[in-house]
Structures are given as C-alpha cells and as structure tokens.
Amino acid sequence: MLLGIETAAERVGVALADATGPRAGTWLDGGRRHAEVLAPAIAFVLDQAGVSLAEVDAVAVDVGPGLFTGIRAGVATAQGLAHGLGVGVVEVTSVAVLARAAYDAGWAGPVASVVDGRRGEVFFARYDGPTAEAAPPRRLPPAALAEELAGRRDLLVVGGGAHRYPEAFRGLRVAGIEHPSPRALVALAADRLAAGCAPVPAGAVRPLYLREPDARINWVQR
C-alpha cells in the first residue's frame, strides 16, 4: 500500500494506492494551516479505507516547487512516517503531479505545468507525454514564460500559476487543473514504483525550492 501526501499548494491532500491504482483519498482546503490539517487527514483516510499504517510499504510526497512551509510540513511528515514504518519515500514534483492529472483526464499532447512561485514569478516544467519530461522545473517571470510558449497551441497549460497570471497565458489552452491532486500524486508514484524506481530513505527526502533562501539573496546583493 502506498500513502501519498500533497501539501505543495494551498490544499492538503492525502491518498492511498494499491497495485490496482488509487483507492481512497481526501483533498481539503488547507489555507496556510498545512501542519494542523495534514496528520488528521492521514488518520481520516486510513480509517475510511480500513487500512492500518502497518500495511503502508511506501510513502509518496510532493517535494515542490510551491509553498515553502507547505512543502516542509509534507516532507517532514513523510520523513517521520517513513522513518517510523521503516519504509522508503517516493519523491514527486508538483509540476509532474499537475501534468499527470491532465493525462489521467485524457489529454495526450504536451503539457506546460505552471505553479505560482510568488514574488511575481512562476515555477514551470514541460512534458511531451505521460512519462516524458521535456523541460525540467525552473523559475521565471510569467511574461518570459508567455514569450517562450507563444503560439504553442498544441500545449495544455495546467496549474495555479496560469490562473494567477491569466493575461500571460491568453491565447494558450489553459485547463481548469489548478492544484496538484493527491490522486494524481499516488498514481504517478505507484507507476514509478512499478517501473522499478527505488524509493529514497526517510532522511534523504529533500524539498525542491527552486529559490535561494531570502538572506542569501540579500547577502549577494549587498
């Protein structure tokens, strides 16, 4: 049994998947209270599914990019669960989870995942198909991304960043998929495990920030 944790955006998600695919899940408005909402959500999903934590043999977590505090709450929780259970962690990115939701919904073409990066920037990655990453995650201003994607009518744009900056993505096909979903997260992680991808040890799980911490930026600018 795979337990997935999604806290990289405003919502808190938890889902379970077994060999047949996603089995149970919950998706809540977390506000900025990820650390309060997540543990009870995990207990709720396990309870509703009639699954005990002892049956969980891998934990999947969205490592970002996205909300720093949300990601840290999710990663620390995944680390604690995996350490306590003696199992490994499948790290997935928010941008890959967003793309997966588009493919699960039947889209077959290329996908541009755009996550709100705050401070006038977005996190972006491009996928040419369900398992093909064409452009790895990076951070840039929405206007620069708009220029890069201009005329790409074959693309489906997903993610909260596209909704935050609608003017930048005018003329492109923007899907309603806004937040990475726990269901897409466990589906993606389960496929990775089935494909032979080895989970990482609890202590080795790392958030994907894609931005230097504040103070270091100030230091460089001083």
């Binding site: 995990i42 207990a43 840290r72 669960l81 350490h83 504040d214």
Partner: protein, 327 residues
Amino acid sequence: MNLLGIETSCDETAAAVVAEGRVVRSSVVSSQIDLHARYGGVVPEIAGRAHVELLMPAVAEALAGAGIERPDAVAATYGPGLIGSLLVGLSAAKALAMSWDVPFVGVNHLEGHLFAPVIEEPALEWPLVVLLVSGGHTLLVLAKGPGHYRLLGQTIDDAAGEAFDKVARFLGLGYPGGPAIDRVAKEGDPTAFRLPRALMDGGYDFSFSGLKTAVVRTVERHPEAATADLAASFQAAVVDVLVAKAAKAVRDLGAAGLCLGGGVAANSLLRARAPEAVDVPTYVPSLAMCTDNAAMVAAAGAWRLANDGPSPLSLGPDPNLAFPATP
C-alpha cells in the same frame, strides 16, 4: 517509559530520549550556528531548510544512543519560536507517533526550559524562582512545582541574549554574541564605564534596549575605549539587573531555590554571581542543558502526557505561544 523529544523552535535541531520523565538516555543537538554566523543572527528560511535535513539523522542517533528501536511516546515543541522551524519538528513528531502507534504530546518550549533542573537536580526543592534568559526570552518565573507557574516579569523590549548579540555585533565581536562578550570581558574592567541598569527600582520586568544604546553612545564619546572594557562593563550591567531581580524575587516570595535557564545562563559572570546573591540553593544547569535541547522537551512532555494526556494530531505550530502560567 522512554519518551522521544524533538526540538526545532529556533536554530538547534535536537532529539533526545528520556526515561521515566527525567533520566536522559540520549541527547543529540545539531547546531546550525555555522549556517547563520555570517548573517549575524538566525535567518528563519535557512533555519527551516536546515531542520528538514538534520532532523531524521538526529532522531536516528537519539534512538540508537538510547539503544531502542521505538519509544513509548513522542513529544515536540509547538511554540514559541520560528513558525517555519517549529512546523518541521512538530510534523515529524506527529508522523513518528502515528507510525509507531504511540501517544504524541506538544510541549511549550518555555516550559521545557523549566524542566532542565528536574533532569539535573535530584534534590530539587520547590518553590523555585527561575530566571530564564536567552536570545528569544527573558522571563522571571515562580515555579511552585511542575506545571504550576507564575510569570513574575519579562522583558519589555529586547531579550537579554538579543542585547548580547546586538552589542557584540556593534563591537565587532561576531556571532553568537554571548560567548564572544563573555570571552572578551574577562580581559576588561567592568567598572570602566558606567552603563544604565534599567528598571532597577521597579517590579520584575526587564529592559535592555536602552543599555545597547548606551554602549553605542559611550563609544561615540570615547572612540579610544578598549573593546574589552566595553564588553565587561556591558556584561556587568546585564548581570547586575538579572541577579538583582532574581534575588529580590527569591526574598519576596520565600522561594526554596533559584534556578537559571536559557542560553544566557551559560554566561560565566551570571553563573558566578547568582549563587552569591541568594541564601537558598542555586541550580545552575550544565551548559548543554542551558541552551535549547530536546531532553528538556522530553521531560516536560512526559509530565504533560502524565497529567493532561496526549495532544490532538491537529495541534499546530504557535510562534507566539504564551508562557504556560497557571491561575
């Protein structure tokens, strides 16, 4: 009963196993001082990131050090402190407790400090006056026993440790300021400059921002002043106030003992002067128990668990958590 404690409220990533509420089986502290030193203070985002990397190794080391695979309960600090740091330890602690199917309990960091003497002093007698001084807090507390506290006074501006950091930075002594000033002051004359002792005649509240300003003005007036004399005069002023108020509280309230706690309790002048100022026993914690650690959190957690039961899994980090005074 073995309890795993986790502390990530500021810039120390700590895990410890404490048995029967007071026997330290292991205590691991991964200090981030080197990461923050170049900025002259704790950078919240850097601290939060470091906790994520340092916590699981600290937990593994604490369990191995105690020779156990899993504890009987897990405690973690949930405030006060830096929110991005608190939520790392708190989230991990809840997850560990769930995965081991053992109780979880949240701990007030300030109450954690009050358990340092419980761990280290078998002959501890209550009521105690506790002087809790660090970079984040300056509190004078009357502790009638575990869980029964009266807040007598606190700083109205800077914390004592914050004053040490700011003055050390101003004097070019580096970070952290407490040990730097303590070291340099040993070569200086504490009577070289007359610096203010704020609120000496008032109640139990403290104020240190005027003292910092006075050091700046003294240097303006005496550019030739020796750094050692300035450091010694500053340190003497801080310690005079801390000791005078603590001693007054012991006398006024008839306490059976005085206890020091927090990072500033590592200061050598404070450690020497406090016992001389009172005629009751003074409990001066070891240096490792003065600074933030998880053993004190585990001890406080064991007491809270026994008296109040487990905390809900919905417990969130509270950066401004108040001192747990009892009516």
